[in-house]
């Protein structure tokens, strides 16, 4: 099979082209020695079946960033039949450097001048034929977004593929990558006579929008308002969909699965229904949120606003070792940690991304909010409850700051913070849907196995041995609660609450349902009993612990998938457990010392 690599600088529409060429057949693959996901797809091109690989964006083949190293590693370890270089036509005066560097590798290559529609509008004219002659490779003007001239580009690619294969030793490529070329002079000579740029450039509409959106006084308020509106949209629209899926799953369970399993032993039906089937339900609950999140995020990202957000809040973020895009993801984490973690992929520096992923699970997500709404209504008066909730949000923000400050030297970002501000653009509906769909597919494929295993495991812990009541002190979970009483008693958590915490590992909102099972009561009766059994200091300590103690199962699996490291997921779990215990201990003991 032939192998084609797509390569280009960031913001050249390379991924848009990849999506256009591959349709929805793209898959995420692992490549030897490469620690980031590379998308690839099998495409039919002029009678050849070829594997098309979307390489990460890079500025310079000799650059030092994580992505630049990935591309270098890929080029010098894989045999390629063709390299397609994608450049932004409007910036060809500087992006030509990459084509010159690639040409030196002596692999078959071609240059696509993307966004040619935009360039034409700004008055840039490029003579592709003349450029092709001077550069010594085919040059085609296209618009990946609208598909203009893409068939022509594919025909050219097919011609290059049908030429006899010149085997180039990857060692030669490795050597070439080291060499210095006189790029600047070369660029000048190629641009001479092939490209005409108007003297006064700059997109007027973009400049006008920027003068409002990046305004020294209005910029930040507009940013926070926009984030608030988008946040409300994602999670309020997502809720009815989640409820709908849950309703359908319950319907199927009570009308089909339960009658079917009526005569099977209790352990088996429990395992299948409360373990396996609930595991599937846990995965399904994320689907609407992930789709909506990426629909919105694709718009924010592709419109160019995400880079502007980075500009607006960078002053604060830089001190924490994060950047503005990370801040947007942390904010979204307050809705749900899982898509927020997936969204950090937009940050290209590995260390900065890991640091952002470490703090996101500390944000008070809507699942935790449900627990706190219930607990505050149980233990506090209507006047106190909002204040308690506000305090929990403050604690959440503080743990994020503290964690970022403590770990910023471990995950030190060594890439220069220099971002392009692309002109404002409207992504097409196709781009938006495709992204939402791809991300959900990715989540289901990568996460459903481990999430289901986790749910089954928690079911087993809370239901075995079978001769005692489920979720009682006699179960394995109860025994674990007993073992840990030495550390849990000093923070006011008894063994029954400990069982609820073990349930909460699956998904934090389950804590309330678990308490209902543990105490055998529901609704008002449960509230009444809890108000009787717990004083407010214990309740608050329990809430603080629930807020921080461990990311939920789905978050942990996503952390592992995104970081490609179980170690990182474990660091996150251990750190949050330590921090949770510390915060609860300080709160509980000081409150008791003060006589509460």
């Amino acid at each position: 099979m032939k192998r084609i690599a797509l390569l280009g600088m960031p913001n050249t529409g390379k991924s848009t082209l990849f999506n256009r060429l591959s349709g929805s057949s793209a898959r995420v693959g692992n490549w030897p020695g490469i620690t980031v996901d590379l998308k690839s797809a099998k495409i039919l091109i002029g009678g050849h079946i070829a594997e098309l690989i979307d390489l990460p964006g890079l500025y310079d083949l000799q650059g030092y960033s994580d992505d630049e190293q990935v591309v270098r590693h890929f080029l010098s370890n894989n045999n390629l039949n063709l390299i397609i270089i994608v450049a932004n036509s409007a910036q060809i005066d500087r992006q030509l450097s990459l084509a010159i560097q690639i040409r030196a590798l002596s692999l078959p290559c071609m240059l696509l001048l993307n966004m040619s529609d935009e360039a034409r509008k700004t008055g840039i004219t490029i003579d592709a034929e003349a450029m092709s002659r001077k550069l010594g490779m085919p040059v085609v003007k296209i618009s990946a977004k609208y598909g203009d001239h893409c068939p022509e580009a594919l025909r050219t690619a097919a011609e290059l593929l049908s030429k006899p294969v010149v085997h180039i030793d990857t060692k030669h490529i490795g050597d070439q990558l080291q060499k210095d070329l006189n790029i600047e002079a070369e660029m000048e000579s190629i641009l001479q006579g092939t490209v005409q740029m108007p003297i006064q450039l700059g997109n007027n509409l973009t400049s006008r929008i920027d003068s409002l959106l990046l305004h020294p006084w209005f910029g930040l308020p507009i940013f926070f308002t926009a984030m608030y509106v988008l946040f409300q949209f994602i999670f309020n629209v997502g809720k009815p969909f989640q409820d709908g899926i849950a309703w359908l799953l319950t319907l199927f369970r009570t009308n089909a699965l339960e009658p079917l399993l009526l005569n099977t032993p209790a352990w088996l039906s429990g395992l299948l229904l409360d373990g396996l089937y609930n595991g599937i339900g846990t995965v399904a609950a994320f689907i609407p949120i992930i789709v909506l999140f990426f629909l919105i995020m694709t718009m924010v990202e592709d419109s160019g606003y995400l880079s502007r957000a980075a500009f607006l809040v960078d002053a604060l973020m830089a001190k924490m070792g994060l950047d503005g895009r990370g801040f947007v993801m942390v904010l979204m984490g307050f809705g749900c940690n899982v898509p927020a973690l997936m969204g950090t992929r937009v940050m290209r520096s590995k260390n900065m991304r890991l640091l952002t992923m470490l703090v996101i699970p500390l944000s008070l997500c809507s699942a935790r909010l449900q627990v706190f709404l219930f607990m505050t209504a149980t233990l506090f008066t209507a006047n106190q409850a909002p204040l308690v909730l506000f305090t929990l949000y403050l604690v959440s923000f503080s743990t994020i700051f503290i964690t970022a400050l403590l770990f910023k030297n471990q995950y030190k970002n060594d890439e220069p913070f220099i971002l392009e501000l692309p002109p404002y653009r409207f992504p097409t509906a196709r781009q938006i849907w495709l992204r939402g769909w791809q991300e959900v597919k990715y989540f289901i494929r990568r996460a459903s196995k481990f999430i289901t295993i986790g749910v089954v495991l928690v079911w087993a812990l809370t239901h075995f041995p079978m001769n005692v009541a489920p979720a009682s002190n006699g179960t394995l979970a109860g025994q674990i609660g007993e073992w840990f009483s030495i550390v849990l008693t000093p923070i006011g958590i008894d063994s029954q609450l400990a069982i609820a915490l073990i349930f909460g590992f699956v998904a934090k909102e389950i804590v309330i349902g678990a308490l209902a099972v543990i105490y055998g009561l529901q609704g008002d009766a449960l509230m009444h009993l809890m108000a009787h059994k717990l004083d407010w200091v214990q309740g608050m300590s329990f809430m603080l612990f629930t807020l921080i103690y461990t990311p939920c199962l789905s978050t942990i699996i996503t952390l592992k998938n995104e970081a490609k490291s179980w170690l990182f997921a474990w660091i996150s779990i251990l750190w949050s457990l330590t921090l949770a215990w510390g915060v609860s201990f300080i709160f509980y003991q000081s409150a008791r010392l003060l006589g509460f």
């Binding site: 960033s65 910036q91 990046l214 500009f311 607006l312 002053a315 220099i418 501000l421």
Partner: protein, 80 residues
């Protein structure tokens, strides 16, 4: 002020343009800047600065770029 005097990119006023005269950066920063069009002799405009000592927005040719002050301090410019 002497119009030919070198100054730091940081010290330009919003809306002011200048010519890049010298980039004093390590290899990684230098390559990134070069790929984005930062080269000696090129005209650069400081478009605006973010509040609270945040990054700068600069324009070179057809590209708008945000750059932190620490990195901008590596770039010397002279008035055009």
């Amino acid at each position: 002020m002497n119009p030919l005097k070198l100054k730091n990119l940081n010290s330009l006023n919003p809306g002011e343009s200048a010519l890049i005269s010298n980039i004093d950066a390590d290899n990684s920063l230098f390559l990134r800047l070069a790929a984005l069009g930062f080269r000696a002799g090129k005209e650069i405009e400081l478009v605006r600065c973010a509040s609270f000592k945040g990054p700068l927005q600069v324009r070179i040719g057809s590209t708008d770029i945000i750059i932190r002050r620490s990195e901008a301090s590596r770039i010397q410019v002279k008035s055009s």
